[in-house]
Subunit: 162 residues, 2 copies
């Protein structure tokens, strides 16, 4: 175990010195956030067909925060262990009423400063449809998540509305 840790540290240090992303090297993964449906609802946003963002992100986005993330919203600094979920459902409009339908994907970001130092301490992952075990994001995808998210407050865009 100690040898493995030493090797990992050396590899990470090497990559850092060489200016190479350590994401692929460390292979740090983000697990599916079980029970997130019981967490605190932050807000719901519907991206409809009239949005230029529809093809990529259309649907009903329901955002959830675990206890640590709620603290982060409050203090402005998200502690290790904070998790945010963007639960994307098909948005079905019938007779002027829009409801959430099938799950398109579950996007997750988790704060773990030790495991994700290259991306502001945040790990990103996306689980497509009802997939639970295997995330779909490539290393490049994760870097792209952070490239945009780093514009937020501690990499988070949303605020917690009362």
């Amino acid at each position: 175990m100690k040898i493995w840790m030493l090797m990992t540290s050396l590899a990470a240090a090497f990559a850092l010195v060489c200016g190479v992303s350590t994401l692929a090297q460390t292979g740090a993964t983000v697990s599916f956030p079980e029970h997130y449906r019981m967490w605190v609802h932050v807000k719901t946003t519907v991206i409809g067909p009239r949005s230029p963002n529809f093809a990529r992100n259309g649907g009903m986005h329901v955002f959830y925060a675990n206890e640590g993330a709620v603290e982060g919203y409050r203090t402005g600094r998200f502690p290790d262990g904070a998790i945010l979920v963007d639960d994307l459902l098909d948005a079905k409009e019938e007779e002027g009423v829009t409801r959430g339908g099938s799950r398109r994907r579950v996007a997750v970001m988790i704060k773990d400063s030790a495991r994700f130092p290259e991306t502001g301490g945040w790990g990103f992952e996306i689980f497509v449809g009802e997939e639970r075990s295997k995330g779909s994001l490539t290393a490049e995808g994760k870097a792209a998540c952070f490239a945009c998210h780093q514009k937020g407050r501690d990499a988070v865009f949303s605020k917690f509305p009362e």
Copy 2:
């Protein structure tokens, strides 16, 4: 205490025999559900301008359930203490994206079989805007709530989606 219970029972029995609602007589009230924003999110539904129901109920409805209500969704029978909230926000659509805005009203239903025997054991109340102390429903309004809600499963329409 026993005398009070006896008198209440007699009054209720009298009203029942006479076909009069006991709601006004018992004067049972429903308090504002503090901290409901920390409860479990059931679902979000947006009633838009194209709905015939828009004038009366338009906006973003965000439904929350306390622990007892989550048990009710699971078992089909809501225990005393179960509370459901319909948090109605203005729905603002900008460039195809619909977000929740100002609070229009907070509608509450609480299960308390002893206090609300006339309405299936459920007490109903509505708090307009950011009002917290005084509900706006008349006795007739409460009766109307139940008249519609009794068509649901134990007076609840929504199901808990995973």
